[in-house]
Symmetry: C2
Subunit: 331 residues, 2 copies
């Protein structure tokens, strides 16, 4: 097995976030579930956008956010995801490439358009997401560059993208390519609704040893295992993957690997501005530590530092110099 050229290659939704602050009454009036993620169609997207205040556009997408963090930390990364041939597609492609990430998936013709996520951020920093998947859900298996996948130490997959059929098939093929090349597969469960719909798939992948590193938050852990609480869920899953990482919002995070258990507190920050991307950036910090051979404890700490940075400002992509931040906090 040769030394891989990339640290991490990810397959995920190629989304531009459209973000605006809003008050709690707006969340209620629009019938949204605070803190949740809802898939919306063209009509709903139009109606919600009309109801939204002045916004700003910042590239997003769960796995793409994780790569942005990883690349900033110094990892060599590549992304596979589907944009349309339109202005938001150009924005997404520019931002990911400008972050130093290889991205070569060709754009589809502009109908449907590039995915966007309408994110309403309440004064407590909580984000409520409404995702119009557009082009993103049509990532074909043919778009996969299997030699590229074989050339990355870790293949990182976003659970959100397991829902639409074409990308699911692409991801299954990608897992085969990674495993065939002796690489690790990391998977993030993304959201409760994905587990509701595809929990059987996920448990089957885990049972078959297809997932080496699993990221979940505590709700997802409980949902996937069907256990009553966090500890029971952790006990049920811990032995089934090489590395299990569970984030617990303000309660920090726990990881279990090879019988070792480590925990980290949430990194203290002055003011939570926008929680969008917290889990994505936690994964970035943790994975960076992992691929660089850091201890479980140190990797968790790096995750916590990156998550704290991203929730201290609007948008799910890092703004501060994560390398400097990690160097400072870990010293």
């Amino acid at each position: 097995m040769t030394q891989p050229a990339y640290d991490v290659i990810a397959i995920g939704n190629a989304i531009v976030d459209v973000m605006a602050p809003c008050d709690d009454a707006t969340i209620e009036r629009l019938g949204m579930t605070r803190g949740g993620m809802m898939l919306i169609d063209t009509e709903q997207a139009g109606a919600l956008y009309d109801a939204m205040g002045p916004a700003r556009e910042i590239s997003g997408g769960s796995a793409a956010n994780t790569l942005a963090g990883l690349a900033q930390l110094g990892a060599k990364c590549a992304f596979i995801g589907q944009v349309a041939d339109d202005q938001l597609g150009e924005v997404f492609a520019h931002d990911i490439r400008a972050g130093g990430i290889a991205f070569a998936t060709p754009a589809r013709p502009a109908d449907p358009p590039t995915a966007r996520c309408l994110i309403f951020v309440t004064p407590d920093g909580q984000r409520t997401m409404n995702t119009y998947l557009g082009a993103s859900q049509f990532l074909p298996a043919a778009a996969l560059d299997e030699s590229l996948i074989a050339d990355a130490a870790v293949l990182y997959l976003e659970g959100y993208l397991w829902d639409p059929e074409e990308p699911r098939a692409a991801m299954r093929r990608a897992i085969g390519a990674a495993k065939g090349a002796g690489r690790k597969v990391a998977f993030t469960l993304s959201d409760g609704f994905v587990i509701d719909r595809h929990g059987v798939d996920f448990n089957a992948l885990i049972a078959a040893g297809e997932i080496d590193i699993l990221f979940a938050n505590e709700h997802e852990l409980v949902a996937l295992t069907g256990e009553a609480d966090f500890e029971a869920g952790l006990a049920a899953l811990a032995g089934k993957v090489q590395v299990l990482v569970v984030t617990r919002s303000e309660h920090g995070a726990v990881a279990v690997a090879g019988g070792e258990r480590a925990a980290v507190a949430a990194e203290p920050i002055e003011h939570v501005v926008d929680t969008t991307g917290a889990g994505d950036l936690f994964a970035a910090g943790f994975l960076f530590g992992h691929v660089r051979g850091k201890s479980l404890q140190q990797s968790l700490h790096m995750g916590a530092i990156c998550a704290a940075e991203v929730i201290s400002h609007f948008g799910a992509r890092p703004e501060a110099d994560l390398q400097a931040l990690v160097a400072e906090k870990l010293s």
Copy 2:
């Protein structure tokens, strides 16, 4: 003369800002003039975008930024400007309408696309702007709703838009409509390059009494009057317009009206993040005071408060509640 339905109607560029932090070496390497504004064509826009780091998109446009501030302060506003029928055009139209501003100029077909301004922000908060005017420069005189112009207390015009031919003709017609209805005309000089090219026009408009309220920064004041310094420039212009407002960056601002002179210091802020929109928001605060019958001194202070808010974060549109801010600081 009936009571106007709008406080301010503005004609300006309909631009989405594409903003990214950068270091000073990048400004030099790309041959840009720190703090300046340069018009760029499609090819330059592509090359500069490629050289730009991960960015975010926030609606901009000088006069549109001013209206965003005015509307937030409680003024009733309308905007006239040209977008293309594309995603950035939707973004611009959404943001201005979501700010409570009437905007009914029909989008043009999507070639050329909606204007964008590539803004490089150095660590000191200084912005260097590269504007691709696209659709914005094709605002036809036919797009003017003269009854709407007659129905606003103040017509606010952006000097930047005097440069392209079609909008210049539209603005001349708008001045006629406003004057015919007994309304005031406010004009911002925008930039040195506009004065280089159209200073003769501007001086003629001023001499003819077509401009009632003139906004300039000190460089523009000197450039327009041809005088040696700020004080001489002020003396040369002060008697020629009803209200003259000159901003002086960190040195505050001066206004002269009806023989009265007032000055305000810059509002102290902790950290200048991004100076984009400082002048635009100064104009918003000042104009709001002016249309609400505040004193020259109070109007200047409101301008300084709004300018300080907008330079404390990325983007040229206000983020904090300007009404609350002004109420707090003026009390």
